[in-house]
């Protein structure tokens, strides 16, 4: 693709076990098309997996769907960039409350509640817009040249 080309993709996925893999594969394919390096793709994939699992496990949405939108660009600097929005129409959550429960218990690692932290560690930008009628997580990943 040319340096200024843009690719967009939308997916609507049912909240079924392992459906996050479908989202991950779509994101991985887009990343490869844009020339994103494999480590950046892997990080993006793991962040998307966690976002989808959080939606499936915690949103309690009636329509039982996850809505994903991807926008991939290869900028003038040659650096691929993928922006992804992951939306559910569930009950929402308080990101500050979720972040407050990150501490590792003394002597033992905390087992659950890591999804948001994993997303933030693996992506370059993460924004959460959550209300009682749904949540959208917007994430951005930049990647270097093809590896």
């Amino acid at each position: 693709m040319t340096q200024t080309a843009e690719r967009q993709m939308e997916l609507t996925l049912p909240m079924l076990p392992d459906v996050e893999i479908a989202a991950a594969k779509a994101a991985g394919n887009l990343g490869r098309q844009l020339g994103m390096d494999s480590d950046a793709i892997d990080e993006m994939v793991h962040a998307i997996v966690e976002a989808c699992i959080n939606a499936r496990e915690h949103s309690c949405c009636v329509d039982q769907r996850i809505y994903l939108r991807f926008r991939g660009t290869a900028g003038k600097d040659g650096r691929p960039r993928i922006e992804v929005w992951i939306t559910d129409h569930g009950r929402g959550f308080d990101p500050a409350h979720a972040r407050a429960h990150r501490a590792i218990a003394p002597g033992r690692p905390q087992k659950r509640g890591w999804g948001l932290q994993i997303m933030e560690a693996h992506m370059d930008e993460v924004e959460i817009d959550s209300t009682p009628s749904g949540t959208t997580i917007r994430m951005v990943k930049y990647g270097g040249g093809k590896s």
């Binding site: 392992d18 991950a24 033992r108 905390q110 994993i118």
Partner: protein
């Protein structure tokens, strides 16, 4: 539904050691499969266990939480558990979740076996 089930292969090393090789996605189901195999080994007297994840490319936090439970059980028994051959992103995820503070992570199987005396 979207991916192959996780496959676990066991290789015994000496009287009290074993390596578990995983292939596929470590989610809740995959984690439980690893745990079943690990608990059987631990209950059978294995006190040194190495998880080789060379053919696992994706993990999720639920699957890792089950690996933490295996690690806790091994700690309670006074044994040793380690990991090797992780992809960079899986290694980073282990670091984020604190697992790396309690179980050693080796870049390759050879160094893990040497360290564990297997």
């Amino acid at each position: 539904m979207m991916t192959d089930d996780l496959k676990v292969t066991v290789e015994r090393r000496g009287a009290n050691g074993a390596i578990l090789y995983t292939r596929g996605y470590i989610n809740n189901v995959g984690g439980e499969e690893i745990a079943n195999q690990a608990y059987e080994l631990i209950d059978g007297g294995v006190d040194t266990l190495l998880l080789n994840l060379r053919e696992t490319k994706i993990v999720n936090s639920i699957g890792i939480s089950i690996l933490i439970e295996i690690m806790e059980k091994m700690m309670e028994k006074g044994g040793r558990l380690g990991f090797c051959c992780l992809t960079p992103v899986i290694s980073k995820t282990f670091q984020i979740m604190g697992l790396a503070q309690y179980a050693p992570i080796f870049t390759d199987e050879e160094s893990a076996l040497k360290e564990f005396g297997l």
